[in-house]
């Protein structure tokens, strides 16, 4: 039996196949199943629920944030209308079908704006437009319009069960030209504002860190590729952030970021650059928190980028650089015409790995901010954990983690395609 190679070959790959099956394929398929079921902590029997974990719209909110209250041929008429806003009044008038029109009375004009189910809602909504919105005159096509706008507190025009009634309602309810937005409400993760924010955060985190890693890693590699005393020591030191376990180094960063006792704020206060009341709250403010996460990931990841690029640089034969010097290329031209294109394939490989690490990073975020403050820095991996494990919604957690899969697949395929073209 030892004469033939095939059985031995199968025997040798069997452990690997088992490993792939047990530790990769099974959990993956399991989470796919979970994401299509009502799996929850404490729920023994899972039943198929289709796409409900991904997207289940229960209602549509219609929001409006700008109304064209009136239109004029002449600009001065529009301005006169705007000036008369202070003396404007609002009434609710009965309309057909038992509905009520909210009417705006300005400068002798009566403008029906909305038509709602009861008189209180109608007059309240129009009163809000009158007193809380910002009014201005704007040219729109051939007419001059008086526009009422709001940035952050749009008017809710109602909640609807399906798209058709919603469309009809908008047509019937809004009597002037208006900008409306539709917000889906429901129990699927796509309807969860935290999930939408987690997607945005994941991209921000990934591309923010990758860009910074390149901006720091490339010069670092160029520096380490030069001959100078202590180069070997420096090469060793540079990789330290990469080799320290993240659980330990992130703990260090936690101390650094402490808003009262951390070294950054301590230094800012004691050098009298910033008063104690105005120091950045690194983990408590959502922008600073995202900045802190990116900082930690860049600090930890740039050595990897630098070392890979350094490997690419050392692989360029000296004679190529010497020929470029003879050809008349100065240092910049050598970098952009010779070195960069020759390093690019290996740089893409490092970028590929790095993007995968950052896109799926859990540890850094979990240790530094735990997704906080108030879920403002959740990324897909932490939010999946938060929802799936901590809150017990296993199905939704699985659905969130599976969202990463197609996105990553697209990114990886795009980069591999690029690599194939390069080499």
């Amino acid at each position: 039996m030892f004469e033939r190679e095939a059985p031995l070959g199968y025997a040798l790959v069997l452990p690997a196949v088992l490993y792939l099956g047990v530790f990769i394929a099974y959990p993956f398929l399991m989470s796919v199943w979970m994401s299509f079921s009502d799996a929850q902590a404490g729920n023994q029997k899972w039943t198929w629920t289709g796409w409900a974990n991904y997207s289940k719209v229960e209602a549509y909110d219609v929001l409006a944030n700008s109304f064209h209250v009136a239109q004029f041929k002449e600009k001065k008429d529009a301005e006169a209308f705007l000036a008369a806003r202070d003396k404007a009044t609002v009434t609710a008038e009965p309309a057909e079908g038992g509905k009520f029109k909210g009417v705006l009375h300005v400068a002798g004009k009566d403008v029906p704006v909305l038509q709602l189910d009861n008189d209180g809602d109608a007059s309240f909504a129009v009163q809000t437009i009158l007193s809380d919105f910002d009014w201005s005159v704007a040219k729109s096509g051939t007419t001059w319009d008086v526009v009422a706008k709001t940035k952050d507190t749009p008017l809710t025009l109602g909640e609807f069960q399906d798209r058709k009634t919603m469309k009809d309602a908008i047509k019937n309810e809004v009597l002037v030209e208006a900008d409306t937005t539709i917000q889906e409400k429901g129990t699927g993760v796509l309807q969860d504002p935290n999930f939408v924010r987690a997607v945005k955060n994941t991209f921000q985190y990934t591309f923010g860190t990758e860009l910074l890693k390149l901006l720091i890693g490339v010069p670092c590699a160029l520096l380490l590729n030069r001959k100078f005393a202590g180069r070997r020591i420096l090469r060793g030191l540079v990789v330290i952030p990469w080799v320290i376990p993240i659980a330990i180094s992130a703990q260090g960063w936690l101390w650094i970021f402490d808003s009262t006792y951390g070294v950054i704020n301590w230094a800012l206060v004691h050098s009298h650059l910033v008063s104690p009341g105005q120091v950045p709250n690194f983990r408590g403010d959502k922008d600073w928190a995202m900045f802190s996460l990116i900082l930690v990931n860049v600090w930890r990841g740039f050595p990897f980028t630098a070392i890979i690029i350094l490997a690419g640089l050392t692989a360029i034969p000296d004679e190529i650089i010497e020929r470029a010097r003879l050809d008349g290329a100065n240092a910049f031209q050598r970098f952009f015409y010779i070195i960069a294109p020759m390093v690019r394939p290996i740089l893409m490989v490092s970028l590929l790995f790095s993007v995968i690490f950052s896109f799926t990073d859990f540890n850094t975020i979990w240790i530094i901010t735990r997704g906080g403050p108030y879920d403002q820095t959740q990324v897909l991996s932490t939010y999946a954990y938060q929802l799936g494990i901590n809150a017990g919604y296993l199905g939704k957690g699985a659905a969130i983690s599976l969202f990463m899969f197609p996105i990553m697949a697209v990114m990886v395929l795009a980069m591999l395609q690029f690599l194939r073209r390069e080499v």
Binding site: E319, E322, R323, L326, D327, A329, M342
Partner: protein, 355 residues
Amino acid sequence: MAEVNLENVEKRFGETWAVAGIDLTVHDQEFVILVGPSGCGKTTTLRMIAGLEDVSAGDIRIGGRSVVNLPPRDRDIAMVFQSYALYPHMDVYRNMAFSLQLRRVPKKEIDRRVNEVAEILGLTPQLKRKPRQLSGGQRQRVAVGAALCRQSGVLLFDEPLSNLDAKLRVHMRTELKRLHQKVRSTMVYVTHDQVEAMTMGDRIVIMNGGKIMQVATPLEAYDKPKNRFVAGFIGTPPMNFFSGEWVDSKVQLGGGVKLPYPRSSPNGTKSVVFGIRPEHIYVRPSGNKGETAVPSVIEVVEPLGHDVVATASCGAGVFQLAAEIHDGLKPQDKLDLQFDMARAYLFDRDTECVL
């Protein structure tokens, strides 16, 4: 005018002397070959001319202008590297055009020059290819082409043929010589192969241990070697050497071999090295004056075709001789070999200079 002058040029790497003070003038449009064993400082000399290596001492002038403080790109030189140093990400056209593009030569002119050079080198069908899609010989020609496009006064070559197979090497030898006659740049060419040196150079510079042993035309280097090193380096198979004593117009070698040495020679007794090329040892007397019979035994016969290299031994030691296949030499033959004393050399055993 691109004459190259080296004046007492030295190069030291730490404790080792790569080049230990050389003087050399390469005339305008001359094809000069630097030849010598590996590690003798040829590459270093070339790199100092190119400006890739600073001189430790001395002066280098190109076209009468001292260049030791000029960067490589301002020296009016182009170089072909041993590894070809082609830019792997650029196609052949771009490889040849790159230096011209950097020098802001007009696009039309670049196109004209690249196409002309490609035509000369037979690279026109390959212009759109990347280096990795080319054969070794084609890459080598691209490297030469890139240097030619520059139309610089001086072209430097560092063992450009050493990565080619034997047949292609012989072909490129002729090709490069033809090219030199066409472009008329000053060429400095480094090789460790004395056959290449002899066949290609207008003059050859034989180097050893960082020093120049002799500068001569190929014929001079063969006929009138200045010292034992040159005599042994030039010529295949190499010259035979025997140490002996010079006494009273005779050379006494080991084993009682005594040879008359007719040339005017130093007086008295002297320790010498006697040298004679294999091709100046004959199987039969030719009737020339100055031939001396030396009883010998043939040990090995290596036929190369028409020519035969035989190894023989006499009382003074083992030596090689060049014969013809029709001479019918066989191992164990005992015969009197004729040493052509008119074409033999005597070297001082201490200074190794020819006497």
